[in-house]
Amino acid sequence: MDPIIATFIEDNIVPKFNYWIYVILMMIGLYAMITKNNLMKKLIGMAIFQTAIILFYVSIGVKDTAGIPIISHHGSEHHQGATVHSESGSSSEEVSPVKVKNNTIDKDKYANPLPHVLMLTAIVVGVSTLGLALAISQKIFKSFGTLEEDEILNKLRPGSQ
């Protein structure tokens, strides 16, 4: 392979391939929404577009060292509380380093929760809009007998019938 292309791929595509996929998906969706004549295909394009945005946000929140954003030592909560009390009562040297580590939360160990929350919202709103759009297109099909945009416009034009 040409070394220029190889370095380009190594520097620009491999570390940022999530953005490449998101841009490509988004453009597929946009293309479908703009150029397709069928309303159902437009809706599919819209769904792909939304998926691209969701991929973008969620991939931003990924960290190299992180797991799911759920604090894993929650089960030993009462135990920790007891430790803290004894710590304030007696000397603090007795507290083992493990427990000290448990009490502080290393934020590199947890994935960023904020994009997940935002995308949960986006998914739900996407389902709502998709459902409503399907309902409206069913209504359009019932009254026009077609889902092709140009035929609908022809029927809407005054004097065509």
């Binding site: 931003i60 190299d64 759920i70 939360i105 949960l120 739900v124 069913q138």
Partner: protein, 235 residues
Amino acid sequence: MLSATKDFPDWRDKDSPANEGTVSSFYIEKTEDLTKVPNMVTAVLADFRGYDTMFETIVIFIAGIGIIAVLRNFDEPHSSSIQRENNDEGGGLLARFTCSLILPFIQIFSLYVVAHGHHSPGGGFQGGVMLGASYILLALAFGLSKAKERFSERRTMIFAAVGIFIYVGWGVLCLLFGEEFLDYSALNSILPGDAKMARSYSMLMVEIGVAFTVTAIMFSMYSNLSTRGRLSKGL
């Protein structure tokens, strides 16, 4: 847009602006301190961003009402009952048997996802969608009329409204106890535990409200879309 990707941070970069930002760090570091909830996503969803989720639930509710307003056909009330006898048999024997086996497990698991959503992956939306899907599966296997006997249209809308009512009412309850809207720590006088546990319990209540609405609207969406609003016969 592709040429702009080289200005974005690398994938899995833990020092990217989005991951280093003060808001995300605050959520990660303070969630358990402030709310005693280990699942940060649920905590952020139901507590720190309570308004967002509340109006999101209302968006689903409005979408469900919109579908009914667009599609629902209230004419011919008796012809639908005749059709019900004739056409609505659902799936075959194998589908019915399999569904009757797995439906209870789906429903119990979805209730678990709702109830345990602030300790493990899950929450109101996820559990609600699963519960709604179990009713959709019932409608697919046994016919929509059978599912409608279990979960009638009237009951669907009541469930959806009750879900919203639980959420907003919980916020108003905080208001009555002298704090801001949806500031759950106000409720520690009526809930067991201290103010942090009150936030944890309140998240559970709010998630239950969300699950009510999502379940009802999912099933309502399916039954309206699959029958073109006549509600007489499923797919």
